[in-house]
Symmetry: C2
Subunit: 343 residues, 2 copies
C-alpha cells in the first residue's frame, strides 16, 4: 500500500463514478467548450457579489455531480473541497445546504489533487462507500483576492495566467458501489497517489505563477517515478494543472536536466483551456477550477473511452496570499499527483 517515500498504491482501487463541470463564458468560448456540462454566461451566477457567485458555482456543480451519479446528498459520506479564497469562503458558503460532513482543504491550485488523494484514501480504507472531491475558482473573486480589483483596469504582463471561472466535482466510490452515469462504466480507477511537499524556487513574482510552480511539479513527478519505479512512458499523459506556457518551458528544461524528456506526453490544463492568442489570456489559464474542469470535461472521458490507458494528473499550486506577497515573501509551490487508469 505504501510505495516509496510519498506514494500510495491501491490494490482494489476506488473508481471515479461521476464527474461534473460548470464554467464561465470565457471558458465556454475556448477550445474545450464542447467538453463542459454547463456554460454559465452570467458571471455573477445570479448573485450580488463575486464571492457569492463562486459559492453558487460550487453548489450547482456538486448538485449536478449528484444528479449525474443518480445519488442523493445523504448517500455521500464525506466532501473534500476547497477554493482559492481566504478562509475558503467560496466552499463554506457553497456547500452548506448539502449537509455532508466536510473536510475543508487549501492547496492553492493543487486542491483538486489534494481532494482526490484524501477522497480515494478514505474510500480505499473502507471509511466511506462514496465521497465527493471538488475545487473551484472564479476570475473576479481571485483577481480581487490576489491581484487588483477589476475596476482598476491594470495591465497584465505576458507571464500572467488568467484565473478560470469553473468548478469540477467528482464522485469517488468503491468499485461496485458506483452508479455509473447513464449506464456507462465509471470514468477511471484511481490507482495511486503521490503527495507533494512545499518547494521554494525563490520566485517572488505573483504575475508569474508558472515559474513558481514548475519546480514543485518536477519534484512530485520525479517522486512518483521513484516511488512507483516507473519511467515517463508508463503514462500516456502527464498532466499538470496550470503551469501555462511559461511554466511548461521551465518544466521541460528541469525534467530534461533530470534525464527525462516528457515533451511528447505532457499536457497542461492551463494551456488547453484557452486559445491564448485569440482569447488574450497570456500564459494560459490558472486557478483550482482550471485543472478540476479540464479533468472532468476532457481528461476523464479520454480515460473512459480507452484513448488513454493511464495518466498522471498533477495539479500544481502557488502558495501566496495578498499579505505574504505584500510583505515580500517568496511564492513556493506544491503539487499533488493522482494516477488514473482506464478500466
Amino acid at each position: 500500500m505504501q510505495k516509496g517515500k510519498a506514494s500510495l498504491w491501491y490494490e482494489t482501487p476506488p473508481v471515479i463514478a461521476a464527474a461534473a463541470s460548470i464554467v464561465g463564458e470565457k471558458e465556454g468560448e475556448g477550445p474545450l467548450a464542447g467538453c463542459f456540462d454547463r456554460i454559465e454566461t452570467d458571471a455573477m451566477f445570479g448573485k450580488k457579489t463575486w464571492e457569492e457567485a463562486e459559492s453558487e458555482l460550487q453548489r450547482q456543480t456538486a448538485l449536478l455531480c449528484l444528479e449525474k451519479a443518480k445519488r442523493a446528498e445523504t448517500e455521500i459520506r464525506y466532501l473534500f473541497a476547497g477554493d482559492l479564497l481566504g478562509q475558503i469562503v467560496a466552499t463554506s458558503f457553497g456547500v452548506q445546504e448539502l449537509e455532508i460532513p466536510l473536510f475543508g482543504l487549501y492547496g492553492a491550485c493543487s486542491t483538486m489533487g489534494e481532494a482526490m488523494a484524501l477522497g480515494s484514501m478514505t474510500v480505499n480504507a473502507g471509511y466511506a462507500d462514496r465521497v465527493l472531491a471538488m475545487a473551484s475558482s472564479h476570475f473576479a473573486s481571485a483577481e480581487r483576492q490576489f491581484r487588483f480589483p477589476l475596476a482598476y483596469g491594470n495591465q497584465r504582463p505576458l507571464s500572467t495566467t488568467w484565473t478560470v471561472t469553473g468548478c469540477g466535482c467528482v464522485m469517488v466510490a468503491r468499485e461496485g458501489e458506483e452508479h455509473p452515469q447513464a449506464g456507462e462504466k465509471p470514468y477511471a480507477r484511481i490507482r495511486g497517489v503521490t503527495t507533494g511537499k512545499i518547494v521554494d524556487m525563490d520566485s517572488r513574482d505573483s504575475m508569474n505563477m508558472g515559474a513558481a510552480m514548475a519546480m514543485a511539479a518536477v519534484d512530485t513527478i520525479l517522486q512518483n517515478f521513484r516511488d512507483l519505479e516507473v519511467v515517463p512512458g508508463y503514462y500516456d499523459r502527464i498532466i499538470t494543472g496550470d503551469l501555462g506556457v511559461v511554466g511548461q518551458k521551465i518544466l521541460f528544461d528541469i525534467m530534461e536536466a533530470a534525464g527525462y524528456d516528457i515533451r511528447g506526453i505532457h499536457m497542461d490544463c492551463g494551456i488547453e483551456i484557452f486559445d491564448s492568442a485569440a482569447q488574450d489570456t497570456h500564459s494560459g489559464g490558472s486557478g483550482c477550477g482550471c485543472s478540476a474542469v479540464t479533468l472532468c470535461g476532457s481528461i476523464l472521458p479520454k480515460l473512459q473511452s480507452g484513448e488513454w490507458k493511464r495518466a498522471l494528473f498533477v495539479p500544481t499550486g502557488a502558495l501566496l496570499s495578498q499579505i505574504s506577497f505584500n510583505e515580500g515573501q517568496n511564492v513556493p509551490g506544491i503539487a499533488h499527483a493522482v494516477v488514473l487508469e482506464h478500466m
Copy 2:
C-alpha cells in the same frame, strides 16, 4: 469501522505518541502557564512581520514535537496542518523546511480536530506509520486578518474572544511504532472521530464567534452520541475548542433542549486558557491554536495519567473571512470531534 452517519471507530486505534505546545507571553501568564513546553515572550518570534512570526511558531513547534518524539523529519510520512490566515500562509511558510509531504487544511478554529481526524484515518489505514497534526494562531496576525489592525486601538465588545498566540503539534502513530517521550507511554489512543458539517445559525456578528459556533458543536456532539450509541456519561470530559463563556451558555441551553445536561463534564479550551477577568480577554480565548495548545499542554497529560479515561475533543470553527463579513454574509460554524482514550 464506519459508525452511523458521520463517525469512524478504529479497532486497533492509532496513538498520540508525542505532543508539543508553544505559546505567547499572554498565554504564559494564564492559568495553564505551567502546562506548555515553551513560552515565547517575543511576540515577533524574532521575525519582521506577524505572519512570519506565526510561521516561525509553527516551525519551532513541529521541530519540538519531533525532538520530544526522538524522530527525524524523514521518519514522518505526512503532515496535516493549517492556520487561520488567508491561503494558510503561516503553514506554507512555516513547514517548508521540514520537507514532509503536506495536506494543507482549513477548518477555521476546528483545524486541530480536522488534522487529527485525517491523521488518525491515515495511520489506521496503514498509509503511514507516523504523521504530524498541527494547528496555530497568532493574536496579531488574526486581528489584522479578521478584525482591525492593532494600531487602530479599537474597543472590543464583551462577547469578543482573544485569539491565542500558540501552536500545538501531535505525532499520531501506529501503536508500537511510537517512540514514547522519555520512556513514557503514549499520551492516549484516538479511538474514533466524528466529522462535522457546516451549520448556519444565522449569526452575523464576527465579534461573537461563540454564538456562531455553539450550534455546530451541538450538531457534532449529538451526531457522536447517535453514531456511537452513547450518552454524555460515556465521557469524563466533553471539550469544545473556543466557545468562550458566551458560547458555552448557548451550548448548555441547546444541549438541554435536546435532553442532555453536560454542565458537569463540559470544558472549553477558550475558557481554560485565560483568566478572563484578570487578563481582560472578555469571552475567552479563540483561534486554532487555542484548542491545539490546550490539548497538548493540559488535556493529553490528564489522559496519559488516567485522571480521565475518555474525552471527546471537539474543536469548533467559525467560517468567515474579512470579505464575507464585509459583504454581510452569515458566520456559519463547523466542529470536528476526536474520541481520546487513556491507555
